[in-house]
């Protein structure tokens, strides 16, 4: 492991009052600076509880929590939370305050001066794609669901926290808006490089958003925590396999690009026999190549360069080779891990 983890949960447990067993049992997890770690698992497995332990919305029953190497298990929780962005599915904007006032919440508590707050509010609204001139003085009831969640994200970024905790932030938003929010958020993250813990119960969202994914079972037991590629290529147990579900192998194709393949040569005689052949460009993913093959009911698809000339052919064997390579790599990785411990 290079460097110190940004967040470390060390044997953290939470037993709710009156509950039979723990909601989170002896969870140990490191989250590296600048990564998006997605917590994913079935409903009730303890994802939200785990997330809320990090900013001490819930006090752990036992175990320690470290941020930047400092033990924060006993510090003042209000002060701790001002350093950590928190976004929830229901957003929870303050209905009696304007968008600008909402976004200014944390800076105001930190007693920034008026001018600095005002500049910061405009900056944040622009960051999340809302024109400050239009939205500053609106009230939350005057926003769509997607706009409200953008404001939720802007508000959580208020005092530029280095950590963001997001509990199903896009869960209540229609699929099309969700997709664009996800994309924008990933673009934002390129710039901001926050350490993000992101909860979802949607494995596809996890694969899309996560630098790493932790697949949690009952009581937040970590079944597998790794990159999406490795988890898809090599689920460590039946729980993970069934959770990531059917079509797993195919999803892994989305992580590789056509341009990285050793393409088969394009042969006018064989490939140009009048049948409709799908074409893609070199920056397409292997998943897109597969979709194109299926669409044209052909076992191959032609790759074209910028000027539209055929540059080569992707065949089914490319795809199965790519999957096998990913699986071999992941298996070797886990063998090494197993040997090391």
């Amino acid at each position: 492991m290079a460097g110190e983890p940004k967040i470390r949960l060390d044997h953290v447990s939470k037993i709710y009052q009156g509950a039979e067993g723990p909601a989170v049992a002896e969870l140990t997890l490191d989250i590296d600076p600048g990564e998006i770690l997605v917590l994913v698992g079935p409903s009730g497995c303890g994802k939200s509880t785990t997330l809320r332990l990090i900013n001490r919305m819930i006090e752990p029953t036992s175990g320690r929590i470290y941020l930047d190497g400092d033990d924060v298990t006993d510090v003042n929780p209000d002060q701790l939370r001002r350093r950590i962005g928190y976004v929830i599915q229901q957003i929870g904007l303050f209905p009696h305050q304007t968008i600008a006032e909402n976004v200014a919440t944390v800076p105001k508590m930190l007693r920034w001066d008026r001018k600095r707050i005002s500049t910061r509010v405009d900056e944040l609204l622009e960051l999340v794609g809302l024109d400050p001139r239009v939205y500053r003085d609106r009230y939350p009831k005057e926003l769509s669901g997607g706009q409200a969640q953008r404001v939720g994200v802007a508000r959580a970024l208020g005092a530029d926290p280095s950590i963001m905790l997001m509990d199903e932030p896009f869960g209540a938003i229609d699929p099309i808006t969700r997709e664009s929010l996800q994309n924008e958020f990933l673009r934002l993250q390129e710039e901001l490089r926050k350490t993000i813990v992101f909860v979802t119960h949607d494995i596809d969202e996890a694969i899309k958003m996560g630098d790493r994914i932790a697949i949690l079972g009952e009581q937040s037991v970590v079944h597998q925590a790794d990159t999406p590629e490795r988890i898809l290529a090599y689920p460590v147990d039946d729980f993970v396999r069934s959770f990531i579900g059917a079509g797993t192998a195919m999803k892994g194709l989305a992580f590789e690009r056509v341009g990285d393949l050793d393409l088969a040569p394009f042969d006018e005689g064989r490939n140009g026999d009048g049948k409709p052949v799908g074409t893609i460009t070199a920056d397409a993913t292997l998943f897109e190549a597969l979709e194109e093959m299926l669409r044209t009911a052909d076992g191959k698809t032609v790759v074209v360069d910028e000027s539209g000339r055929p540059a080569g052919v992707v065949e089914l064997s490319h795809l199965s080779d790519a999957l096998r390579t990913a699986q071999d790599e992941a298996r070797r990785h886990y063998d090494e891990l197993g040997a090391a411990s």
């Binding site: 900013n55 919305m57 929780p77 209000d78 002060q79 701790l80 939370r81 001002r82 928190y86 929830i88 229901q90 957003i91 929870g92 904007l93 303050f94 209905p95 009696h96 305050q97 304007t98 919440t105 944390v106 508590m109 009230y139 939350p140 009831k141 939720g152 508000r155 959580a156 208020g158 905790l165």
Partner: protein
């Protein structure tokens, strides 16, 4: 027409007295409502998240409202003597329920997600109360204050029976002289000005309500 004419004569003839009684009546009402508001909102905040205390507080406040006014007024005379004081104490007890009830309901209705996000941003419980929960409950609290005001204005008209002042003096005076000249006019002066005072205070409070409630909360 005749009745209205003689009523108006009476008002003009006793202009100073009417004005003085109206102001005293208003003063009693305003003082009582302010005290009841401070008390009930504070009590509401304390009991809102405790179901048992909440039920007890609301039950007691409801019981006050069912005690006949005259009896409640009289109960305080041995403690503080006759005059405005026993009346104001009784009125205070009557004014609690609408404000308490609406404070509790207003706080209950604050969305849990809003409170959760406030907590998640590091607002202390006092900050959550003053900056989030009370402002959100405020329109409903003000509605309670308006109801209490109307209630107080009406019941204060019988404060005279325990030696207090206000517009009740015209009603009481007229009733004891019934049959004599101007007795009916006197009763009507007391009644009409009580109603007018209630309406005037309600108009003022509805303005205050509008000015002190966030635009974001209007339907």
């Amino acid at each position: 027409m005749d009745g209205l004419h003689s009523w108006w004569e009476y008002v003009v003839g006793h202009g100073d007295d009417v004005l003085e009684a109206t102001l005293e009546h208003a003063q009693i009402t305003v003082v009582v409502v302010i005290l009841a508001t401070v008390f009930s909102v504070a009590l509401g905040v304390c009991v809102q998240s405790r179901p048992t205390s909440k039920a007890i507080a609301l039950a007691i406040a409801s019981i006050f409202l069912t005690i006949p006014a005259l009896a409640l007024f009289a109960l305080f005379i041995p403690l503080v003597g006759p005059g405005d004081n026993p009346a104001m104490m009784a009125l205070f007890l009557y004014a609690i329920l609408p404000i308490l009830r609406n404070t509790v309901t207003g706080l209950d209705e604050v969305s849990p997600a809003v409170v959760e996000s406030a907590r998640g941003m590091g607002m202390s419980s006092a900050q959550r109360l003053w900056r989030v929960r009370l402002p959100l409950a405020w329109p409903l609290i003000m509605t309670g204050v308006r109801i209490s005001t109307l209630l107080t204005v009406g019941i204060a008209a019988i404060a005279i029976l325990v030696g207090g002042g206000g517009l009740g003096t015209f009603i009481q005076g007229g009733l004891t002289r019934l049959g004599l000249p101007n007795s009916v006019e006197s009763v009507w002066v007391g009644t009409v000005f009580t109603v007018l005072l209630g309406l005037a205070l309600d108009v003022v409070l509805s303005l205050v309500q509008r000015l002190t409630s966030s635009r974001g909360l209007r339907a």
